[in-house]
Amino acid sequence: MENTGYVALSRQLALQNRLAVLAHNIANAETTGFLGDDMTFQQVLSRAEPSRSIAFVQDLTPEPDLSEGELRMTGGPLDFAIGRDGMFAVQTEGGVRYTRAGHFRLDQDDRLVTFDGDPVLDVDEQPIRLPGGVDALEVATDGTLSVEGEVVGQFRRASFEEPERLEREGAMLFRTDEAPGVAAGAEVHQGALEASNVEPILAMTRLMETNRAFQKTQKLIETQHQMTRKAVERLLDVRG
């Protein structure tokens, strides 16, 4: 009899997590290069009696939604957008990380760095240096950087066979144990940034959906509660 309550509880906990995921997406609706995600639910079977099985809900965050956000033209010489499937490689203290936020600047050593000061890597996993300044910087769609016709480096365009294994680290960085390949088809565009790929309309409908699902589950608990109470009352009646 209590199983109804536990199943409903597992659903409510999962829905609460989904709300957190949606809230996180919406909070990052204006974050450059942000990839949203959503939650999938899976059922966990538990055998209550030999003849019947009960399914609890378990939540899983699937792979980040890798669809491209809209490109916003900024005209900034150090703003880069990378095409679908590609990611920029960044050297952090903890090792190489990957990001789609191509919003870079130069540090005092002429290195191309992120806003946290982590150097951006080229195809040989070395920091990209731009000693010639940014005025004459040109970037080909394959990520080759050249200053006044002279090639100074090429962006590492990382691609992943299992993007679902990418782990988020915050500050727009992803980490993985997989050795990434080269995303040959991912074009790099200078002077543009990729906006967050969170769709406000989808986010809103999912938000409402989650809210309603939560209330429905609540209703289920109430119904079950009433049934229990009625059963107890009947039993008392019978005895009386």
């Binding site: 409510q12 829905l15 609460q16 997590n17 709300l19 957190a20 995921v21 949606l22 809230a23 996180h24 997406n25 919406i26 909070a27 990052n28 609706a29 204006e30 974050t31 450059t32 942000f34 995600d37 939650m39 939540d59 899983l60 965050t61 699937p62 792979e63 005209g75 900034g76 936020a101 919003h103 600047r105 130069l106 540090d107 005092q108 002429d110 806003f115 300044g133 005025d135 679902e164 294994r165 782990e167 988020r168 680290e169 915050g170 500050a171 727009m172 144990d177 406000p200 986010a203 809103m204 938000l207 409402m208 989650t210 809210n211 939560f214 209330q215 609540q218 608990i221 109430e222 509660h225």
Partner: protein, 261 residues
Amino acid sequence: MRALNIAATGMMAQQLYVETISNNIANMTTTGYKRRRPEFQDLLYQNQRRIGAQTSDVGTMVPAGVQLGLGVKPAAVYRVHEQGDLQNTENRLDLAIQGQGFFVIEMPDGQNGYTRSGQFQISPDGLLVNADGYPLAPAIEIPEDAVEVSINQSGVVEVKFKGEVDTVEVGRIELATFVNPVGLEAIGNNMLLETTASGPATIAAPGTENAGPVLQAFLESSNVDPVTEMTMLITAQRAYDLNSKVIKAGDEMMATVTQLR
């Protein structure tokens, strides 16, 4: 209820966005002002079910775990050092830089300040000073009996005395350039200071390297574009709205729970 705090970080970020826009709009007519843009990043993630964790002794693992993000944080509010429009002012002591350079100003505490605002005046001592009365570095003195001041594109300051035909050179304006001008620290009054992030100042004559020529009788207007600011304001306001809806949804879900008997 995590969603409430996450949405709160979202609302705070959008508030910062609006604050930045309002500062840009307020400085729309400030000489040499560079517009600011906020940059956001996602906050830390909580692993509830770690990706790649083993699920059995035979080595199967979790293909996609539960990672809950905790919201958004501002990473930077940076200046966009794009050239502003040049405005003819007819004032012989107004200067504009068409390039990446900065005027070097000697601050009262002895260190150098850098500015794009070229509204100069002559002080009682005959020095070229900015609107706050701080002199250009190196100092340029305009003799009292000079009738005309001309400054060419290379920053050479020449004066003409009454009754004379030839001009006399009295000094040269020097400009500073930086590897990373975004790293300069703004201290108000159109003034910027050197930091480790900006790299040391490279002094160059106007027109050489990236410094750009100096134009006499012109001022550089701010590079704030009102249309862009307005569209950004709308985006920021809507995003703020969306985040408040999340708080409402979270609140409703909590209300549902409290009705539980």
